[in-house]
């Protein structure tokens, strides 16, 4: 895997761009391994398991892994990968932490907010246009790709379509009300193939305690003072 230096991928706090006609700011990239590692160290979460928040594989490949003692270690050369293995609760906790640290209101986007940001001012079907560009969105891959390899759309967002799903705030809706335990994910992932799964308007859901190498998240920052 090529290491590419891009300040946006390793910078803490993350870079934001204003989207949805100025209604909110969204991180230009999904939260990266480097950024999540910064949070783990700040909170002392690298020292012991936190199964409600995250779990990392024993094998290298996704940037963070768990050693034999249960501690989290960083594979520095993979720090520009999107942070994966983070549960919905872990993604929410990261947003809350970042907001407190930076004096802003940070949270996960709703599926509707995510969709408006991804569709952009021209209402595109996928984040970079109305054509499904398979080599760009869904190349053959066995794991996440560095977010720095992904081109930016008109509002500066990278990696909205493909690579890894992104957690959103919404619970799974049902005619009987929300189904407990599942939350929305958007954007498609390297594990999928058919273009419809990647559309801005398509929403899947996943168990909120999922720790999977194909689900990450990005932070929404509200445009109001804390």
């Amino acid at each position: 895997m090529t290491r590419t230096h891009d300040p946006a991928a390793t910078q803490h706090p993350p870079l934001f761009t204003t989207v949805d006609a100025g209604r909110f700011d969204l991180a230009t990239c999904p939260t990266t391994v480097a950024q999540y590692w910064h949070y783990l160290l700040d909170q002392g979460l690298d020292q012991e398991p936190a199964p409600r928040l995250h779990a990392f594989p024993r094998q290298a490949g996704t940037g963070l892994r768990t050693d034999r003692q249960g501690r989290v270690t960083l594979d520095d050369e993979l720090s520009t990968l999107p942070a994966t293995g983070v549960t919905w609760h872990g993604a929410v906790a990261y947003c809350t932490w970042l907001g407190a640290l930076t004096g802003t209101h940070c949270r996960l986007p709703s599926a509707a907010e995510w969709q408006r940001a991804a569709s952009g001012p021209r209402g595109w079907r996928w984040s970079l246009g109305n054509e499904f560009d398979r080599p760009l969105y869904a190349p053959e891959a066995t794991g996440p790709r560095p977010v720095t390899h992904l081109p930016a759309g008109p509002t500066g967002l990278r990696g909205m379509t493909g690579n890894v799903f992104e957690w959103c705030s919404d619970p799974l809706a049902s005619p009987d009300g929300p189904v407990p335990g599942s939350r929305a994910v958007k954007g498609g992932a390297y594990t999928l193939r058919n273009p419809e799964s990647f559309e801005n308007g398509t929403t899947f859901t996943s168990d909120a305690l999922s720790t999977l190498p194909y689900i990450g998240f990005r932070v929404l920052r509200e445009r109001r003072p804390r």
Partner: protein, 264 residues
């Protein structure tokens, strides 16, 4: 497992779609076919015993699958162990067959790294589509096709669906699977051959030839596999013993499951 004797039969149909034409003669050696699909509980036992045999490209753990992946690994959702295993690719199903073979001292059929199969091995495998059709025809003699868990299933069947039972992430009122062996078996002793989940077969997909064939197993190359039996998402008339469909082998979808077979 239900045993089927050596037999000659006509596979295919002139009355369905172009995929089933032309009907042609097939000779099959003796084989055994599982009476039901592999359940989410069965598959989770494999995942716990041999976690390194599975990677995330072979199994999809997002909703509405019955198996999730949490900090403590793969887990079956509460109350869902008897539902069919879904959202596994052809090779995910093949990995399960190999695990079953090793556990019972048989030779594994599939080489997962090379994506090849050796049908001379005595282990578990996916059924040849002709075996699947022979078994389904035996279970559903002409005029007794009956009803399965198809898109137009009767109310008593729909009531067994995961969403109606409030289990997993299938929603109430939406089509969904019913537990394996939830309904009475067919005349051959097989459960849910028609409907519920489309079943991965061993064969790569190709149009039929009119030539008679002995133990056919599909073409040697290609990445589309035959799936049989239709699903809860397919209308009943499209789910006949002779009906066949093709699926990309890396597809992981909530309408695909499988049952195991073995040469005797």
């Amino acid at each position: 497992m239900i045993s089927f004797a050596r037999q000659d039969l006509v596979v295919g149909s002139a009355d369905l779609t172009a995929r089933e034409r032309p009907p042609h003669r097939v000779s099959l050696g003796p084989f055994a076919l599982a009476d039901r699909c592999v359940s989410a509980g069965d598959f989770t036992a494999f995942l716990h015993d041999a976690p390194d045999d599975m990677d995330h490209l072979m199994i999809d753990c997002i909703d509405p699958g019955f198996v999730v992946h949490r900090a403590d690994g793969f887990q079956v959702r509460p109350g869902c162990a008897d539902f069919p295993m879904i959202q596994i690719s052809f090779w995910g199903a093949a990995a399960y067959c190999n695990w079953l073979s090793r556990g019972e001292g048989f030779q594994p059929v599939y080489d997962l790294a090379r994506r090849e199969a050796g049908l001379s091995a005595d282990g578990y495998r996916l059924p040849r589509e002709a075996e699947w059709e022979a078994a389904c025809r035996q279970g559903h003699p002409a005029g007794t096709a009956g009803t399965g868990n198809t898109a137009d299933a009767p109310a008593a069947c729909r009531a067994l669906r995961a969403g109606e039972a409030g289990l997993g992430a299938f929603r109430r009122g939406e089509p969904g699977p019913i537990p394996t062996a939830a309904r009475a078996p067919d005349a051959a002793g097989l459960h849910e051959m028609i409907g519920n989940v489309r079943e991965w077969c061993h064969d790569r997909y190709a149009p039929y030839s009119a030539e008679p064939a002995r133990d056919p197993s599909g073409p040697g190359r290609g990445s589309f596999r035959v799936v049989r039996g239709g699903s809860f998402a397919d209308p009943g008339p499209a789910c006949r013993p002779a009906s066949r469909m093709a699926a990309f082998e890396d597809t992981k979808c909530e309408v695909y499951g499988f049952r195991v077979a073995r040469s005797l």
